[in-house]
């Protein structure tokens, strides 16, 4: 018993040292650790002063770069923030994708020789019906449609399923295989668009993660207002350029009859009026290369954007062809502005003016540049924690931990004397290891996670207690301290392993099915189980051996 091999001592020391090293950064400020603060772009003087003070501290830091500088990352419930769970509807994704094909379908059928059809094609209930005036054109129409039928993503699956009906009707729909491909595509695209809309400069610590095939979780720490985020994400961001008709007579006729002429529709303008636009757009959001906030001649905030190469040429031709007409820039069914084409516009630079505040112009530019959402986002769950509550929770959690630790420590020393002190020592090293492991793994600490740590404090001594009780028994049976300790540890092993493995199973299940804060609880519980078995079995034992060697007591006071 008394020979505790050197390699074990070295191993324990290395593990404890690493744990302490990983836990160490939590004692210091970010600046001290040389972590550059994030420039959040905040404009109020207090925030700027704060930012500069932190930056100065970071620049002056002597913290060696080799040492770990990861801190415990706090969950939203501790630092405050917004959690949003959103869902995309796959049917809507398919219908919207089909919508974008309308222009190509129109162009293909309009090419000479023109294929005459009845009505203007539109997406209704997720499909497009085209009725040919002369069923004899069917062969040629199908040939042309097949040629423009795109494949989805990297797959060989065609987007459109073309069905030849009776009497010259062609039904265009999206096959179920294509739907699956589109949905997978849409989730990834959506996450990218959400990031670019919410955080165009990439400066905030926003986490956007997929859940299942159709859901997305957004976590924005520090943000206290879910409404702005929801507003930005609620806009489809569908931007189109349509030829427009602003003549009052045409508008009032359309308004009165409720039926504009074929191929045209009435939309609202940003000022609250009405305007007629051609249904099928000339250009769409995908033609836009970049967008940012600018100012118009009157120095009011506006949004500037630039078309990509091909679209710029198209736009030049369009403006050259339709000189004197109007075109409308339409965002989500509302005409933002409808200027008159005075001359052909080269270069592809366009501006939207309106009654924007600077923030609105910024958001709008981000929305336009990020592109159109493949489908509407449905918000399923929203949770917000204000920074005040978060701070209070941290304080309450730390207070409860310290009080719990002191109470358990006093109790252990009262029950087991000297050896109880060793258990307390290993309990403290246990907590350092838990914090070190959580920091090293960059796991997130939540309020239930703190409860998990406190619970571990109470339960971690269990392994020690089991061993100590065995030692008591052995000593009562007349064995020497060294043999009692040896036997105590050996006999307690199976009970401790079996008991902790079953608890570990419960923690794993919690981690797998839990969400957010509960997951945080499971992580600390699981880590706590591993570290407490290690500290009880190895660290306490090491302390005990040192004590036996140096003091050589005749009898253990236990």
């Amino acid at each position: 018993m008394l020979n505790f091999p050197n390699w074990k001592v070295i191993l324990i020391s290395v593990i404890l040292f690493c744990g302490a090293l990983l836990a160490l950064p939590n004692l210091f400020s970010d600046g001290f650790l040389g972590l550059e603060p994030r420039d959040t772009g905040a404009t109020d003087p207090v925030a700027i002063a704060d930012f500069q003070a932190q930056k100065a501290a970071a620049d002056a830091s002597w913290w060696p770069g080799l040492l770990p500088s990861n801190k415990l990352s706090l969950g939203l419930d501790l630092q405050g923030g917004v959690y949003l769970l959103m869902e995309i509807d796959p049917d809507e994704v398919a219908a919207n994708r089909l919508q974008t094909m309308l222009r190509d379908i129109q162009t293909a059928l309009n090419r000479a020789p023109l294929i005459v059809r009845e009505g203007v094609p539109d997406v209704i209930d997720g499909r497009i019906n085209i009725r040919l005036s002369d069923p004899a054109d069917m062969g040629e129409a199908m040939r042309r449609l097949r040629r423009i039928n795109p494949t989805i993503g990297q797959t060989q699956i065609n987007l459109m399923t073309l069905d030849e009906g009776a009497n010259g009707v062609i039904r265009i729909s999206v096959s179920s295989a294509a739907r699956v491909g589109l949905a997978a595509d849409a989730q990834g695209k959506m996450m990218e668009i959400i990031r670019r809309r919410i955080d165009p400069d990439g400066v905030s610590e926003i986490a956007i993660t997929p859940q299942g095939d159709t859901r997305i979780i957004l976590e924005a720490p520090g943000e206290a207002n879910p409404k702005r985020i929801k507003d930005i994400l609620s806009q489809a961001g569908r931007l189109t350029f349509n030829m427009a008709d602003i003549s009052e007579s045409a508008i009032s006729v359309a308004q009165q009859t409720g039926r504009p002429r074929a191929g045209w529709e009435l939309v609202e303008t940003a000022e609250g009026g009405l305007i007629l636009i051609r249904k099928i757009p000339e250009l769409t959001g995908t033609d836009i290369a970049s967008a940012n906030r600018g100012f118009d001649e009157a120095n009011r905030p506006a949004v500037n954007f630039r078309l990509n190469g091909a679209a710029a040429t198209k736009f030049y031709n369009l403006t050259a062809r339709n000189r004197g007409d109007f075109f409308a820039i339409v965002l989500d069914g509302v005409s933002m502005s409808a200027p008159r084409i005075n001359e052909p516009i080269p270069g592809g630079n366009v501006q939207i003016t309106g009654q924007f505040t600077i923030e609105e112009a910024d958001d709008l530019a981000a929305i336009i540049e990020a592109g159109e959402l493949p489908a509407r986002l449905n918000f399923l769950e929203e949770r917000t924690v204000g920074p005040g509550l978060g701070q209070e929770s941290i304080e309450a959690g730390s207070r409860a931990s310290i009080i719990g630790l002191i109470l358990v420590g006093i109790f252990m020393i009262a029950a087991y004397g000297v050896i109880g002190c060793f258990a307390v020592g290993s309990l403290i090293s246990n907590i350092i290891l838990i914090i070190g492991a959580l920091s090293g793994l960059s796991a997130t600490l939540t309020l239930p996670g703190i409860a998990g740590i406190i619970l571990t404090i109470g339960m971690a001594v269990d392994a020690n207690v089991i061993v100590f009780e065995r030692i008591r028994e052995e000593q009562r049976a007349g064995r020497s301290p060294a043999t009692s300790i040896q036997a105590g540890y050996e006999r307690a092993l199976s009970a401790i392993l079996d008991a902790n493995i079953t608890t570990f199973i419960a923690a794993s299940i919690l981690y797998l099915v839990g969400s957010g804060p509960v997951k945080g609880f499971a992580v600390t519980l699981a880590i706590g189980i591993v570290t407490s078995v290690f500290t009880a079995f190895v660290v306490t034992r090491w302390f005990t051996v040192i004590y036996l060697r140096s003091v050589r007591p005749k009898r253990l006071a236990i």
């Binding site: 769950e381 005040g388 309450a396 239930p448 409860a451 001594v461």
Partner: protein, 323 residues
């Protein structure tokens, strides 16, 4: 003099009381089931859907003022309570709850809840200058159903896996005994939630799973000792062996329960309002888990009997193995 929670070397006949204990437990279990059936659980919005918005009580205003401000919103059943935060500079809080919203025109069921939250926030910001939102949550009907389902699944899967592990390490009778004790603990804890009307939410499920882990832990310690003693005393009556194991582990059981309870009570008292429900469940669970591993798990084990390898052939094999 060191603290002793339990005298040394006791020989209490715990298993003589097993039928009394089983009857009492059965009665309490029936009571819990009746409670759950009659009163039901006070489901939090995690499981029932709906919204909770917590604001710092506006200066000089009362809960009734807040109710008045929200009256025009047509939110259905709204409950508005006042509470006091924890900590040194605690503030007065107003907590607004409303149930799952009936979609208005042009809304679907999911967005109705979110929109209602937005309207409440906007209305409160307008009615009270500088209102401070402490927290808000809106859970739509789709997610709340799923959360409940995944919570229950988690409990059942965990029970099943632990049962498998115990069967593997011990014998199936032990597994049945342990799981019977776990069901006992979970059901009675839920019964207490129904009785007291404490909110039952995701954190409570986490607490229940921890209770399951803890109670299992306790049971395994006793069973491990039973396993050991049956190897030592092959001819002794099983009830006596179980008593021996319980007596031997009693001191440990009480000590560990005490340290765990000390930690939990400090969460309950000092850990703030958010953790109160969870720590309440845990405190109750630790007490009942300690009881159940002594009386329920062991009693069920005794009812089922175990395969002690006391048939002559097995013993000879064992003998040869040693030789």
């Amino acid at each position: 003099m060191l603290l002793r929670l339990w005298p040394e070397d006791t020989h209490l006949p715990f298993m003589s009381f097993r039928f009394i204990a089983l009857s009492v437990s059965l009665a309490v279990l029936l009571g819990s089931v009746a409670m759950l059936g009659l009163r039901g659980l006070n489901l939090g919005i995690d499981f029932s859907g709906g919204s909770v918005i917590e604001i710092v009580q506006p200066d000089g205003k009362t809960a009734d003022d807040v109710r008045g401000a929200l009256a025009a919103l047509d939110l259905g059943d709204v409950s508005i309570n006042s509470a006091r935060g924890t900590g040194v500079d605690a503030v007065d809080l107003t907590i607004i709850r409303f149930e799952t919203q009936v979609p208005k025109e042009g809304e679907d069921a999911e967005s109705a809840q979110q929109n209602a939250n937005n309207r409440v926030r906007a209305t409160l910001s307008e009615a009270f200058a500088d209102v401070e939102f402490r927290s808000s949550a809106a859970v739509g009907p789709k997610v709340s159903g799923e959360l409940l389902q995944s919570g229950v699944t988690a409990l059942l899967v965990a029970l099943l896996l632990m049962m498998g592990y115990i069967s593997l390490r011990f014998q199936w009778q032990y597994a049945v005994g342990a799981v019977a004790a776990l069901f006992h603990d979970v059901l009675i804890t839920m019964g207490v939630f129904a009785l007291t009307g404490f909110e039952f939410n995701l954190a409570t499920i986490a607490a229940l799973l921890t209770i399951v882990g803890y109670s299992m832990n306790d049971t395994v310690i006793v069973f491990d000792r039973v396993r050991e003693e049956t190897r030592k005393y092959k001819k002794m009556d099983l009830a006596k062996v179980v008593d021996l194991a319980i007596n031997a582990t009693m001191s440990r059981t009480l000590l560990t329960s005490s340290t765990t309870l000390l930690a939990l009570v400090s969460i309950f008292l000092f850990g703030g309002a958010v953790l109160r429900g969870m720590s309440f469940a845990l405190i109750f669970g630790v007490v009942i888990g300690t009881y159940s591993s002594i009386f329920i798990a062991s009693a069920v084990l005794l009812l089922l009997g175990i395969d002690r390898g006391d048939k002559p052939k097995r013993e000879v094999e064992g003998f040869q193995g040693v030789g």
